[in-house]
Symmetry: none
Subunit: 226 residues, 3 copies
């Protein structure tokens, strides 16, 4: 967990809570959200337009937050809609929302040890599933025919209740996030398992953690993953 | 997660809730029952007469249904009798009924990740056991001397309270079912473990998933297993 | 699950609830106690006198009995004393009694899948421990200096409250017992682990399952272990 080469940015992030600069590349780095805030978040810039009819979103995370605490895990919002949000709910379920009612999954609890979590969805069938440490949940059918809209904002750490605003500390992420990758298609089981084990897979064509463009806001640390 | 070559059947299943046609073969396919209904089910046609003095029934399943919800896992019914039903009970036990009172087993909970489940029974001793991911439960002695009657109907997804009727949404299966195979004899431990791990075993001589004849009714999806 | 060569004994056990004959050898066989009775038990004849200053007792068992149900696992009784009883208590603890107050251990729950259980004790130190699937519990010091008395009766399946009588259905064993072996000394950790994995260890010099002399009483089935 040495802060090594990025210590300038890290301490910059501690001190300067505004006007972030865009950084590039988080390979072998972890984002540490050290405590509950309504101002710490990381904005991600996608490699392509987010008009999506299918996707795979993968990340690794760990948290010490209590079991009954709501937690935002990923938020993509356009002006009027929560286009793609992933939550841990107060009842412990993991949920996935696109513009309205969500789909809810009973998964093993998130905790202090790292969980690898992927989410797949495709519009043509509506089939969606979470993948925990490479194991697929039961499929659910969620919003077949739907499309995700482009030109929104992608946040880690906070849920924006309106476009670029309305953050709530009690929904914030506290803990570690790393290896956030996204593809505009559904990865196969063998690819998701390979990703879980850290093997080589096709690079995320929406986000690729190693080359990702991002902005740190508030108190977020970038530390070596070890 | 692609629905590939069977997309015609899938969307047929979505749209047409009546007058199913017989299909053949489900190798590498999963049946997805996406939500609670009293009209979605799959009828299986056995390769031989179901007059049975012994059997092994194997399947793989996953469900997000709450723990206290009754779930039908397999139903074979003749005009007057539930000849062979497998349930998850409200108290979480897995049960096996032949024409009357059942046998109840405390097994690890069924959930969102796939469980492989086999059931063996033979009339001469009445010895019966469930096998979860290749591990045998404690034997119980259940209806020694009994015979299962032929000429009934085999359903996945619903429990018929009378022959071909009386379906209840609150007992329906929601989730995924695959690899349903049945033999008219008791497989050995090593065969059941081989089946669990996807290795080659003698083909089911009552049902063989790869060549099974079936009819989809209501909203049941056939998707690639991955 | 075939009962093969022992079917004569099995059906004998079903039909004849009295005047058992002594049988020899249970290698690769399991005793199935199919339901609660106050009359089903198996008597074991030791290879030597049971005057013991140390012992190792090993067995494999599985049960579907509810968690709060008391269960006798092994009973050795002389005219006036319960010389060596092993129980699962109502509170789930596993206990060991020699002529009076017992020693109580918190072990993983016994259930439908097989558990291998060993118990070691030696008089000189009083050190005693259970071994579950080859893993030792914390040592307790229990009755240092004590001796187990010879010339009693060894029962599986029931607890005699007096010598050869006073059986209670609500304490009876229901489930499977196999591979009961006993030595008049304390086996090493590596020997107990070897036994757990089915490797070759010194033959039990008090009981050796492969060559054991036993009598079936009431409804106890002898079935192939698979």
């Amino acid at each position: 967990m040495s802060v090594s080469m990025l210590s300038v940015f890290v301490f910059g992030a501690f001190v300067v809570a505004t006007s972030a600069d865009t950084q590039v590349g988080l390979g072998a780095k972890v984002l540490v959200f050290p405590y509950e805030t309504d101002f710490s978040y990381v904005t991600l810039m996608p490699l392509k337009d987010m008009a999506l009819k299918a996707f795979t979103l993968c990340l690794r995370m760990a948290t010490e937050l209590p079991e009954e605490r709501q937690i935002i895990l990923f938020a993509y919002r356009t002006a009027d809609y929560d286009e793609l949000n992933v939550w841990r709910e107060k009842d412990g379920r993991i949920s996935f929302y696109m513009s309205g009612d969500g789909a809810f999954f009973h998964l093993p609890p998130l905790g202090t040890f790292r969980t690898s979590l992927c989410l797949t969805w495709e519009s043509v069938t509506g089939l969606t599933a979470f993948w925990v440490d490479g194991k697929r949940s039961t499929y659910q059918v969620y919003k077949p025919g739907h499309s995700i809209r482009p030109k929104g904002t992608i946040l880690l750490g906070q849920d924006p209740d309106k476009h670029l605003g309305g953050l709530e500390a009690l929904q914030s992420f506290v803990g570690e996030l790393t290896d956030v990758n996204m593809w505009d298609f559904v990865l196969s089981r063998s690819m998701i398992q390979a990703w879980h084990y850290g093997h080589k897979v096709p690079e995320g064509n929406i986000f690729n953690w190693a080359t990702i463009e991002y902005e740190l806001n508030g108190n977020v640390m970038v530390v070596d993953d070890d």
